[in-house]
């Protein structure tokens, strides 16, 4: 049994910390002078993190609600939807008998918006925006980000992108409805569908603002990690969370500008009459003058972002899970360096696999082989990570709580979804499986649900760091078990649908006798989706309830973690540490070392003791 020593962080920082004369530079705290500069236009990374999180939660609810509505259409097409008319208005047409039908164009809009919102606003901004902001300055021992001002802009560009997208939901022609990937010609020709007009204009505007937000944030994260680390915090002493955010930010800086370039060409096609993406096309019986464009060009540019984007989503979740698992298993993370190198490998490979999204678009089959090989190689670093998570848990003194349960659930989801990735990465199997529910099942499990599990693990674990209180554990466990079972209930059956060839994105299968016997399965999926949605509402209730009424955090380091964020005061001021900043003496995973339960990073090495991180 490891003995638990109590550390006095204040004394340790005072004796060993680094004096950077922080308060001598500030005459009064310019960051927290009024309500407006403290809570709204804040430049403090802790506030900005909470802004990202709460905005992300808002979008999460909106996006999830959309999925419930289109699942109702898929599961219960014979039921009247007249009762949603107060919410959706003219998109529900009610006939004389009072039977309400969802307009097909709005069904497509819902599917499109669900994808856009979840991928960009929730799992990019809400996940990496929240935790990069919260943890990077805390865990590297910095007063704040390298540029707090750009950091504030990063949030407000995201907010603005959200406002534009939200506005587009209420257009009389509806939001964009051509799929979240916005392939031409639906995205180029305003007359192609009702959402391709003003809806698409706002969609592009919103995403360009979003790209700006990601770049401002990413530049800040990388700069902070490389330039603002405290004394003793070498790269190999950084927690895996920081490594994950660091690599994520680099991926964002390299891939989002390419998406922006793709969008510029798209905008030129839409407004200036150029023909980058369209050629010899008829709309409504009318031949257009555009000649010489190629829609495949857009796909290349889009997926050059699109594939790194899925790692931009999952890497932060991996980082959070590594940290949470290690803390709650009371064991050092297994294979720390292997974890870092596998993340670097995944990050590198993510740039040379984009065409596996385009096997069926007519790309050269010889070219496909290249992408198949690199896609399958991604399984290697992914398997290394899974192995290390499981071995971290093995013989651990595991504390089961909402945070650690979600972290373990993440590993489960990542394995289940990752395995189907090996199917889809083969260009020959993709002939059968592309654009079916098999794909839907794969990416929802591996980057949708898994990323959410990582995010939930992070929220439950770092909630005390954000709000000085704990989330309700009972509600947390109901949330975990319900979501775990419910998410599998939603997405597992979709593999069968996909193997049978059921195409994704279809509004109705009434005219396909082949798929008639899937009625029951579709109903089952829809019911499960509604249950899962209700559980996420429970999470949101728990979140806001706990901000005000949760159990109060009494000690600085409630989880017995080693990292620096738990050495700052519970109600950390601007600048995070009131006096000196902590200096670091060891790697972040000294659990169960030399019979001690844990040794924080700020504790100097004993005589003759060796640091594990080097």
């Amino acid at each position: 049994m490891a003995n638990t020593r109590v550390y006095d962080e204040d004394v340790l920082i005072e004796t060993n910390g680094f004096e950077d004369h922080f308060h001598e530079h500030h005459h009064g705290d310019k960051y927290q002078t009024s309500f407006l500069t403290h809570y709204i236009f804040s430049q403090d990374h802790k506030i900005i993190a909470r802004q990202f999180l709460i905005t992300g939660m808002f979008w999460g609810l909106v996006g999830a609600m959309m999925s419930v509505i289109f699942r109702l259409q898929l599961g219960f097409p014979e039921e009247s939807m007249a009762w949603i008319k107060p919410l959706l208005g003219k998109w529900i047409t009610v006939n004389e008998e009072g039977f309400g039908t969802l307009a097909p164009e709005f069904y497509y809009a819902l599917v499109t918006m669900h994808g856009t919102i979840l991928v960009f606003f929730v799992l990019t901004a809400g996940l990496s925006g929240t935790f990069s902001n919260l943890l990077i300055p805390f865990q590297v021992g910095a007063r704040d980000m390298a540029s707090p001002l750009l950091n504030m802009f990063s949030y407000w560009f995201f907010f603005l992108a959200g406002v534009v997208m939200f506005f587009s939901l209420f257009l009389s022609t509806g939001p964009f409805a051509g799929g979240w990937t916005a392939y031409p010609p639906l995205s180029v020709l305003p007359q192609a569908s009702s959402g391709s007009g003003a809806g698409m204009t706002l969609w592009t505007l919103s995403l360009v603002l979003f790209v700006v937000s990601v770049l401002l944030g990413g530049i800040n994260y990388v700069t902070t990690v490389l330039n603002m680390r405290t004394k003793g915090m070498s790269m190999w002493r950084m927690p895996l969370t920081i490594w994950a955010f660091f690599i994520t930010a680099i991926l964002g800086i390299l891939s989002f500008p390419v998406l922006a370039a793709g969008f510029f060409l798209l905008m030129c096609d839409r407004t200036l009459g150029t023909s980058f993406y369209i050629s010899e096309i008829f709309v409504g019986g009318q031949a257009l003058e555009n000649v010489g464009g190629s829609p495949i060009l857009y796909q290349h540019l889009f997926w050059f972002l699109g594939h790194p984007e899925v790692y931009i989503i999952i890497l932060p979740a991996m980082g959070l899970v590594s940290e949470v698992l290690s803390v709650h298993a009371r064991k050092p993370i297994f294979g720390y360096k292997a974890m870092v190198f596998s993340m670097l490998a995944i990050g590198f490979l993510s740039f040379i696999v984009w065409a596996h999204h385009m096997f069926m678009s007519g790309v050269n089959p010889f070219l496909s082989n290249f992408f198949v090989v690199f896609t399958l190689i991604i399984a290697v670093p992914s398997a290394v990570k899974v192995f290390n998570w499981i071995t971290t848990l093995y013989k651990g003194n595991i504390r089961f709580n909402s945070a650690s349960l979600f972290a373990i659930g993440f590993v489960s989801m990542f394995i289940s979804g990752g395995l189907t990735g090996i199917f889809l990465g083969n260009s020959t199997l993709d002939i059968q499986l592309h654009d079916t529910y098999f794909v839907v099942a794969h990416f929802h499990i591996v980057m949708g649900v898994a990323a959410f599990f990582g995010m939930f693990a992070g929220v439950y674990h770092w909630f005390p760091r954000m709000f000085g209180r704990f989330m309700n554990e009972t509600m947390g466990r109901v949330h975990f078990w319900g979501t775990l079972i419910g998410a599998y209930a939603v997405f597992w059956p979709m593999h069968y649908l996909g193997m049978a060839g059921v195409p994704r994105r279809y509004y109705s299968f009434d005219n396909f006798d082949t798929f008639a016997h899937f009625d029951g399965m579709n109903k089952f999926i829809t019911i499960a989706a509604m249950v899962v949605f209700a559980l996420q509402v429970l999470f949101v209730v728990n979140f806001f309830y706990s901000i005000f009424k949760g159990r109060v955090q009494k000690t600085k380091n409630p989880w017995g973690a080693t990292t620096l964020e738990w050495t700052a005061p519970i109600d950390a001021p601007h600048g995070n540490w009131p006096g000196k900043i902590p200096a670091v003496h060891r790697w972040p995973y000294d659990y169960g070392k030399d019979g001690e339960d844990f040794i924080p990073q700020i504790v100097p090495l004993a005589e003759g003791e060796k640091d594990q991180g080097h």
């Binding site: 700069t223 603002m228 004394k231 500008p257 023909s275 010489g292």
Partner: protein, 197 residues
């Protein structure tokens, strides 16, 4: 990282930086990395599209070449302005900064003339993609020049204000100059790309 070296840097600097670069300069490097990615995407799209055939061949108006010289000159004056700043030669620093700004404006104006000539020789924006690419790529570059001119304008205002040779002013000039040289080199890359293609 070597702890001894880090301690040495920290004793010098009032605020701790672990890297050799000033964070702002480093952040600018990252932003430039993003811009490079964007232009490599555009020029790769150009190559891919050209490979697909149905491609109008034409000769680029010579004004784009002359214009390159204007931009290179503005980079030289920007560098001279920085040198004068370091020597605290106020007059030279002021006029070189002003000259840089004017040359930048001239570059933009000549680009517009170039686009008009392009249109005049039968290569409109909305014609064959081979022409559209020239407009869009050089237009996107012009937008980055415009951003640089905005920063130069702030530098100009500071130069003609009360004499200020502080360290923070030096850093601002360095940042603007690095960016200005960058968009200059970017244009040289683009013009060579257009000529070779």
């Amino acid at each position: 990282m070597d702890t001894g070296m880090m301690e040495a840097t920290m004793q010098k600097a009032p605020i701790q930086y672990t890297g050799k670069w000033h964070p702002k300069k480093f952040a600018l490097m990252l932003a430039m990395g993003g811009i490079i990615m964007m232009f490599s995407a555009l020029t790769s799209a150009y190559i891919v599209r050209k490979g697909a055939g149905n491609w109008l061949e034409f000769k680029l108006p010579a004004i784009f070449l002359y214009n390159t010289l204007v931009l290179i000159m503005s980079s030289v004056t920007a560098h001279l302005a920085y040198g004068a700043f370091k020597k605290e030669d106020l007059l030279r620093y002021r006029w070189m900064t002003a000259l840089t700004f004017v040359l930048g404006l001239l570059f933009l104006a000549l680009q517009v003339v170039g686009w008009q000539q392009l249109k005049a020789i039968g290569v409109p924006l909305d014609g064959n993609p081979s022409g559209s690419f020239i407009y869009v790529i050089s237009g996107t570059h012009a937008a980055h020049i415009l951003g640089g001119l905005g920063a130069l304008f702030l530098g100009l205002r500071a130069a003609f204000g009360p004499a200020n040779f502080s360290a923070s002013r030096k850093l601002s000039i360095q940042l603007v100059n690095v960016y200005w040289h960058f968009v200059d080199v970017l244009w040289i890359y683009l013009i060579i790309f257009f000529i070779l293609q």
